[in-house]
């Protein structure tokens, strides 16, 4: 099985955003692989390995792709160090792109690579748009299973537990399909591929960290670069950011001495109970 995992680099969300000339100023930001995309790489690895023996299933392949400036090669290399096999870097400036352009490029890559699945993070934690996976599925005419909290690969189908409003939905999609992953996909038993024993528990609280061996190996893994024109994409996004503003800080509250005072204030001052 071959899985394509598109990844995006994002500014470290724990750093405070700065605004310059009405837009986010990325100067001095440290960049990371979008957390959900890291989970998507982790999901692809769990689907294509024997967790018990920590070996990859013969003939399986994970191709990672990023669309972004030249610097973004660094974060792409991180996903190779996690265990992906090769990488495609489509070099483009962020302001040349919108979700439709990204989807057009990814559709071109899918046509060339013919993967059995495309696995993505459900959203990037900078723009929080949550669009690309679903749009790619629509563009390709493929089935989609979004917001996956658990995935079982069985008889050529993905059986996906999706976290929806009011509960958990189970949806079954055939290969090839688009899957987008949610937070709980990295839980110990969330990914079942029929090869790793069902009782095997993945540890840790996130995606695997690249090992030293993985980092060394990643340096030799192939990374090809491409440009927008290779996919017939003009750098003319239909979605343009006009400006970014920071919300006014919430007015400071008060520490209340005791519960009776709190209840009195909620009833008489805030009038909410």
């Amino acid at each position: 099985m071959k899985i394509l995992v598109p990844v995006k680099r994002v500014p470290d969300p724990t750093q405070k955003a700065k605004i310059k000339d009405g837009h986010i100023d990325p100067t001095g930001a440290s960049w990371i692989v979008n957390t959900f995309d890291e989970y998507a790489v982790e999901t692809a690895l769990r689907l294509l390995e024997n967790g018990d023996s920590n070996t990859r299933i013969a003939g399986s392949e994970i191709v990672v792709v990023t669309i972004g400036p030249e610097d973004a090669a660094k974060e792409l290399r991180t996903t190779l160090a996690m265990g992906a096999d090769r990488a495609i870097h489509v070099v483009a400036k962020d302001d040349e792109l919108d979700s439709l352009a990204v989807v057009k490029i990814l559709a071109g890559i899918v046509a060339a690579e013919k993967p059995d699945a495309v696995i993505l993070g459900k959203q990037a934690v900078d723009g929080d748009a949550n669009q690309v996976g679903q749009m790619l599925a629509g563009k390709l005419g493929w089935p989609q299973a979004t917001f996956a909290a658990a995935i079982e690969l069985k008889d050529g189908r993905f059986i996906v537990h999706r976290e929806v409003d009011g509960g958990v939905e189970t949806k079954s999609v055939p290969v090839p399909a688009i899957l987008t992953v949610d937070l709980r996909i990295i839980s110990s038993h969330s990914v079942q591929n029929g090869v790793t024993s069902a009782t095997f528990a993945y540890g840790g609280e996130g995606a695997r960290l690249p090992s030293l061996k993985g980092i060394m190996a990643a340096k030799k893994k192939p990374m090809v670069t491409a440009k927008l024109a290779d996919y017939g994409v003009e750098p003319q996004p239909v979605i343009k950011e006009i400006s970014v503003t920071l919300p006014p800080p919430r007015a400071g509250g008060q520490i209340v001495a005791d519960i009776p005072t709190l209840v009195k204030k909620l009833a008489e001052e805030a009038k909410v109970i």
Partner: protein
């Protein structure tokens, strides 16, 4: 000139509360585009909800087919895209629920439409304000495609009121229904008599400091006393203390109730992103340095084990005097 096609979810013959927020946005967009709101009801049972929906818009289009019993993006998106064209829509909108978020981008791809997700405001005809970076910034985007897809955030738009007269109801055929091999298997619904987290006027949320699921019972008692919905931080849902769909935050539910209780929640930015629009925030935490106190209107620096039972007793006392 262009109409606004509002995909509305329904249940038991009536629009869902979340759909009413969609209609509030749709009305402002219709005004900006010089057109009218057309409600689209898709699914088995859509016909039964049409009379109720017609109270909210001048026109309702119903696509009702037994093969559409369970929502699937694969079957619904082509209907949404086809109806966008059939109704002369320049804006296509659905509330940013788990259905809206799954469906709308797929339809946008079919329409080659630019999309604004999870918006908080219509800024100008084709300009939308939306939170980014976990709600730490607001971005104004302009979309220049001939059709624009939008998912308004429920908590940012009041539910729409009924119009004076009922609109016209038309039916449309689904066309070829092709699920692309996808199958709905089942929905494990969380049964609850409490209000939906997205609609609730009061939310009681607990965090990592609650330590285990059993300890949430005291919060549930507080919630039931106030007619509140239950919420939780990611730390609590990840630890399996409470169901995942209680999660409030950047990647969970975004809520803006009148009153939000954050109990034993530290206040990570991802959690704050989901609740800082609340009108009044009460934080109960034993550690006075937690960031939750920076957004709270009222803070109680106490262990929840002591504070919450006392809070329940005090509220009961207050209620008894009314």
């Amino acid at each position: 000139m262009g109409n606004v096609l509002a995909f509305c979810e329904f249940q038991d013959g009536a629009l869902r509360t979340s759909a009413l927020s969609n209609l509030t946005f749709a009305r402002t967009a219709a005004e900006a585009h010089g057109g009218e709101v057309v409600i689209l009801l898709v699914g088995h049972g859509a016909q039964a909800a049409s009379a109720s929906a017609a109270k909210f818009a001048p026109k309702v289009v119903v696509v009702d087919d037994a093969k559409l019993e369970h929502y699937l993006a694969e079957t619904y998106a082509p209907i949404l895209a086809a109806q966008a064209k059939a109704t002369g829509a320049t804006v296509v909108t659905a509330t940013a629920t788990s259905v809206g978020k799954d469906l709308m981008p797929r339809a946008a791809a079919l329409l080659d439409a630019g999309m604004a997700s999870d918006i908080s405001k219509l800024a100008a005809k084709n300009q939308f304000i939306r939170p980014i970076l976990a709600g730490n910034a607001y971005s104004t985007v302009e979309i220049s495609s001939s059709i624009i897809c939008v998912t308004p955030r429920q908590s940012e738009f009041e539910p729409a009121a009924e119009l004076g007269s009922a609109g016209a109801v038309a039916t449309a055929v689904a066309g070829a229904i092709d699920a692309k091999g996808a199958e709905f298997v089942k929905l494990d619904a969380q049964k609850s008599d409490r209000p939906d987290l997205g609609d609730a006027k009061v939310v009681v949320a607990g965090g990592r400091g609650m330590k285990n699921g059993d300890n949430f019972k005291v919060l549930e008692e507080l919630a039931d006393l106030l007619g509140a919905a239950m919420g939780a931080s990611r730390a609590a849902t990840d630890a399996g203390m409470v169901p995942a769909d209680w999660q409030v935050g950047q990647t969970g539910k975004i809520v803006a109730p009148n009153l939000y209780f954050a109990v034993a929640i530290s206040g990570a930015i991802q959690h704050l992103a989901g609740m800082k629009g609340s009108k009044t925030i009460v934080a109960i935490n034993k550690n006075k340095d937690e960031p939750i106190f920076q957004v709270a209107d009222y803070g109680i620096v106490q262990e929840w084990e002591k504070a919450v039972p006392e809070l329940i007793a005090e509220i009961k006392k207050l209620k008894a005097t009314r």
